[in-house]
């Protein structure tokens, strides 16, 4: 009987997604509900807006958020400026770059991110450069560049070449072809890149710690410190703020 029912259920292949749907509910949706739940609880376990009050009344916390957004913007812009040409040169066959090049951009990811960062710190020491904001931005760009190059590169590869040819045939100058056809068509890749770089940068903590000798605090540092200190409600509230910002940026992504 059970065997018969099982085979009936399995015969409809749409049902094969259910185990994963359950896992998603337990390990993705429930945890997010927990962030909301804890952020509206005060230390005594009562419902309150206490954590959000605390955040907006603390100039330090608000400043850390604004500062992190600033650093994240600089990192994202530098990643676009460096990554877009790189993706362009690799995607266009006329430059004859070997195909393995794109994979070489992600290969460093196989060296542990913290070890790579510590090596960057050693490089800065070698060159007698001071650790601090400059090193932080360098380390962030270094770490997140592949996440910008890859989506742009993929979008460019999938691009419909006939549209570009059509523009050329209709007499557009190379500059016009680029600005009017190629660039707009590659923008979805740039948007994905922004989503992949911007938010992770804001919520970084270990990189900032290592690259600035713990002198610069990012929003991620603030979250980590509060969670470590056992202030779960406040940590959850700060996480919820990050989630809201993600909602806003991915809305910007899906607009396209």
């Amino acid at each position: 009987m059970i065997r018969y029912m099982m085979s009936k259920i399995l015969a409809n292949r749409a049902n094969w997604a259910w185990p994963y749907a359950i896992i998603l509910t337990i390990f993705v949706i429930m945890p997010l509900v927990m962030i909301v739940y804890y952020s509206f609880q005060d230390a005594e376990g009562q419902w309150s807006l206490h954590n959000f009050h605390k955040f907006f009344l603390s100039t330090d916390s608000v400043n850390t958020l604004i500062y992190s957004i600033g650093i994240a913007m600089i990192t994202t812009i530098l990643c676009i400026l460096l990554g877009y040409p790189a993706a362009y040169f690799m995607a266009k066959t006329e430059y004859r770059l070997p195909k393995v090049m794109a994979s070489l951009f992600i290969l460093p990811m196989w060296i542990n991110v913290l070890l790579r960062t510590l090596a960057t710190v050693a490089l800065f020491d070698f060159a007698h450069l001071p650790l601090g904001e400059g090193a932080l931005v360098f380390g962030m760009v270094y770490n997140f560049l592949p996440f910008m190059v890859y989506p742009i590169y993929n979008t460019m590869l999938k691009m419909d070449g006939s549209l570009i040819e059509a523009a050329q045939d209709l007499g557009a100058s190379p500059r016009k072809v680029f600005t009017e056809v190629f660039l707009p068509l590659s923008m979805p890749g740039v948007y994905s890149g922004i989503v992949m770089v911007f938010m992770p940068t804001i919520s970084t903590f270990a990189l900032a710690e290592l690259l600035t000798m713990n002198n610069v605090k990012l929003f991620g540092t603030l979250i980590q410190e509060n969670i470590n200190a056992g202030l779960l409600g406040y940590g959850a509230a700060l996480s919820l703020i990050v989630l809201i910002l993600i909602g806003l940026t991915s809305f910007f992504d899906s607009e396209e």
Binding site: S7, R13, A14, Y20, V28, A86, L97, V113, T117, F205
Partner: protein, 264 residues
């Protein structure tokens, strides 16, 4: 001229990206405790590492990293493949939309949020953190990538193959094993490899889900080490070996696919 510029640009960028890695490679051949000091050529660090004399803590961290990555990647690949087949066969409706939307969340969420949210769930349920919690969290953030890798393969597959197998008398399980899985194999393999990569590279999620116990992975071990101010020197040969193995695999794979495309 343009070609020279493009090549120069890419190579300079590569040099910058690889500079810290070259540093690790070079300094894996000297014994100095501090990264960046040269005390003469020596292969002692390699010997220590391979003979298991780099310290109990490092050996444990290596063991845990491998264990977590293999279990999480295996479970994610099975779970994700079934999920992809399920989603592919669903009607376009709310349920399908909800699953694909939720599938995207772990990919968009920064690691720290994924880690803290799962940590809060375990606190709420009163379950202690540790190896189990870490593996669950890794499965949660790896599976979406498997789904994403298997989906395109399903789109390419002839939808009648499965029905044909059933008509010819195969049970659904036989049809799965003999017809569907072989068609999805390349997507499953790339999903599995990606899952291992993400799991090994992960730091923030593991940090929040491992609890205060003794479960350390390489990432958390390095973090703890760096905070103490010193870095176990044997980490240099360890990651040099990992890097070179992956590099060789990558070049080999590229040569193979290049050969295949030129043969076609």
């Amino acid at each position: 001229m343009k070609k020279v510029f493009a090549n120069a640009y890419i190579w300079i960028l590569m040099l910058l990206l690889y500079a810290p890695i070259l540093l690790i490679l070079v300094f894996s051949f000297t014994e100095a405790k501090v990264l960046g000091t040269w005390t003469g050529f020596s292969t002692n660090l390699y010997r220590n590492l391979l003979m298991g004399e780099a310290g109990e803590a490092l050996n444990n961290a290596i063991y845990n990293t491998v264990l977590i990555a293999l279990v999480a990647a295996a479970v994610s690949t099975i779970l994700g493949t079934f999920a992809a087949i399920g989603i592919h066969n669903m009607r376009h409706g709310r349920v399908r939309q909800a699953i694909t939307f939720t599938n995207n969340i772990p990919m968009i969420n920064p690691d720290i949020i994924t880690g803290i949210s799962i940590f809060l769930l375990f606190v709420f349920l009163g379950i202690g953190r540790g190896l189990f919690c870490v593996i669950c969290a890794h499965i949660a953030f790896c599976t979406p990538y498997v789904v994403l890798n298997v989906m395109p393969q399903l789109m390419k597959m002839n939808p009648n193959l499965y029905e044909a197998a059933l008509d010819l008398g195969a049970t659904p399980m036989q049809a799965l094993r003999k017809v569907i899985i072989p068609e999805l194999k390349s997507g499953m393999i790339s999903g599995f490899i990606l899952a291992i990569t993400l799991s090994v590279d992960d730091f923030a999620v593991t940090l929040f889900t491992k609890g205060s116990g003794t479960v350390e992975t390489l990432s958390t071990y390095i973090y703890a080490d760096a905070r103490k101010g010193g870095l176990t020197p044997e980490l240099r040969p360890l990651f040099s070996i990992i890097f070179l193995v992956i590099l060789v695999l990558l070049v080999f794979y590229n040569l193979k696919t290049a050969k295949q495309t030129s043969n076609n």
